[in-house]
């Protein structure tokens, strides 16, 4: 950045400040530009989003920008709206007001084809796993590939590798009902990442499992983040968030009274 009047660029296109018709070196302008870039470049951008059930507002004028490659925790008490927020991002719900932007696309009025296209860039780990009961663990994990028209036999090695990565090799042929909660959670994570999505949403991924398994799942998510995936984890487990500090530089947001606030050292 350079001072106003000292711009060395010969043409406005060579200077972002002049291009935007802003004078240089003012903090207000830096904020304007940063805010603009954050919104435009964010994987997830929510602007003044509101949503409610039966007339009761769960989310109220909520803003959120999640940059690509970041790791975010979303916390708050039960019923604060964490799952609702994830569902809005995953296009399960439509906001009552405001704008939900995914990968720079406004999702307002998105038709089925656009929703499917956007969802294919997202891997989601549901709170209740949502594995398909009559399919084996391996077939569940491979399902997103099938939905994209891939021939299963051509991806046998990929699935095998992923099953191994989540530590379910011995359970690959088992049906979901034969798995423990932790195993189901890991299968759900594997299914979420089999297509190498850009964004991973995880809803209470350690909700029903012991601390050791929780750490194992956290490490998996951190590893995905290191691979360049944007990760957003909704959890009420503050221990998990504290444990993550040593593994990843994560930003923690707290849902409170329908709005998001940056969580601090109180965690």
């Amino acid at each position: 950045m350079h001072a106003a009047g000292e711009c060395p660029a010969a043409h406005p296109c060579q200077c972002i400040w002049r291009y935007l018709n802003l004078s240089c070196q003012t903090s207000a302008n830096v904020q304007v530009l940063t805010s603009h870039l954050n919104r435009e470049l964010a994987v997830i951008a929510l602007e003044k989003v509101s949503f409610g059930y039966d007339g009761r507002a769960t989310l109220d004028g909520l803003d959120l920008a999640v940059p690509a490659g970041s790791f975010h925790f979303l916390t708050g008490p039960s019923g604060a709206g964490k799952t609702t927020l994830l569902r809005l991002i995953h296009l399960e719900h439509r906001p009552g007001a405001g704008v939900v932007r995914l990968f720079g696309e406004d999702t307002a009025g998105a038709e089925a084809a656009q929703r499917t296209r956007l969802r294919r860039r997202i891997g989601v780990v549901f709170q209740d796993f949502r594995l398909i009961d009559h399919m084996s663990v391996a077939d569940n994990i491979a399902l997103p590939l099938r939905l994209r028209g891939k021939v299963m036999t051509a991806h046998r090695d990929d699935v095998t590798e992923l099953v191994q990565w989540v530590g379910l090799t011995e359970r690959a042929g088992a049906l979901p009902r034969a798995l423990s909660a932790g195993e189901k959670q890991r299968a759900a994570i594997a299914r979420a990442v089999i297509t190498s999505p850009e964004l991973i949403l995880a809803d209470e991924p350690t909700g029903n499992i012991d601390a050791e398994m929780g750490m194992r799942i956290l490490r998996l998510l951190v590893e995905l983040n290191r691979l360049g995936k944007t990760v957003l984890v909704a959890t009420h487990d503050l221990g998990l968030i504290r444990a993550a500090r040593s593994l990843v530089q994560a930003r923690t947001l707290r849902l409170s009274e329908g709005r998001l606030v940056q969580a601090g050292s109180d965690l």
Binding site: T116, D139, P144, L147, M152
Partner: protein, 307 residues
């Protein structure tokens, strides 16, 4: 934790492989219980009925055609009993010279006895009866000019009556046509009922697996994929029932007694084995096609409503 059931076990991968053996993966729609086979059973019953109904329509159509042909090609001249041979000879000569008449032949005593046998019984003493002289006429084209013929006959053989059987056979032909139309309408109703049954089955299957549909959508599945999976399941069951039912229908018709002296005319008019096979194949293909369309439309509409 309960052990997996046998239906689920069938979809487990082979011991040497991590995925199900099929290149396209295991079925998206889970195995269902015995109630799902009602679709197959109903389709079989529909196909069976459709084959019988269409066969009845075909027979009625053949009868109608036969009667029409008879009506167009045959007539009878009735001369009073006791007509002398000279008059008869003159009438025959006149008839043979008339345009539209290809042949004229007097029915002999035995043929007349055969005609009267249903009413008088075998071996009736016909010599004591004042039987008219009957002349069998074979017609060509539109037949003779009846007014001119009757005027000429009135001079040559007073009391002669020309009968083209129209009064008897035309209503029979119309009745056969009606039967054929009714049979086709019946077959159409059977097909429509099958379409309704398939649509209901598809809808029920979708409702029973709503959670799977929801998950598939959420992990990036298109409605076209879901539709294909559910249509495939319902249509496979319908197809199995349609093939079995149509084959049974054709077999039942083929098993009717072979045409003979004691066999009804209708049986003689049934299509041969090749025709019955074609009829059964047509019914099966028709039911599967209609079922496919009904399932596809129903699923698309239902999925749209589930948005």
């Amino acid at each position: 934790m309960s052990a997996p059931g046998p239906a689920a076990e069938a979809h487990r991968p082979a011991a040497g492989g991590i995925l199900a053996r099929r290149p396209e993966g295991p079925p998206i729609v889970p195995p269902s219980g015995w109630a799902a086979w009602l679709t197959t059973l109903t389709a079989a019953a529909m196909a069976f009925l459709a084959v019988l109904t269409l066969a009845a329509g075909l027979v009625a159509g053949s009868l109608a055609e036969e009667w029409r042909a008879d009506l167009a090609e045959v007539a009878t001249l009735r001369l009073p009993a006791g007509t002398d041979p000279a008059t008869l000879g003159a009438v025959l000569d006149q008839l043979r010279a008339t345009p539209g008449i290809a042949a004229a032949r007097t029915l002999d005593r035995a043929e007349q006895a055969a005609l009267l046998e249903p009413w008088l019984g075998r071996g009736a003493a016909l010599d004591d009866l004042p039987l008219p002289v009957l002349v069998d006429l074979r017609l060509t084209g539109a037949g003779p000019d009846v007014a001119t013929l009757e005027a000429n006959l009135a001079l040559a053989a007073p009391g002669a009556v020309y009968d083209d059987h129209a009064g008897v056979r035309a209503p029979l032909g119309r009745a056969a046509d009606e039967v054929r139309r009714l049979a086709l309408a019946g077959a159409l109703l059977v097909v429509l009922a099958a379409a309704g049954m398939v649509a209901l089955a598809a809808r029920a299957s979708l409702a029973a697996n709503a959670e799977i549909v929801r998950v598939i959508r959420l992990i990036g599945g298109e409605d076209a994929f879901i539709t294909r999976a559910f249509v495939g399941r319902v249509v496979r069951r319908t197809a199995l029932g349609a093939v079995v039912g149509a084959a049974l229908g054709a077999a039942a018709l083929a098993a009717l007694p072979a045409p003979g002296a004691q066999t009804a005319l209708a049986v003689a008019l049934l299509p041969g084995p090749g025709g019955l096979a074609a009829l059964a194949a047509g019914v099966a293909v028709g039911l599967v096609g209609v079922g496919w369309l009904a399932a596809r439309v129903t699923l698309r509409l239902t999925l749209s409503a589930m948005e």
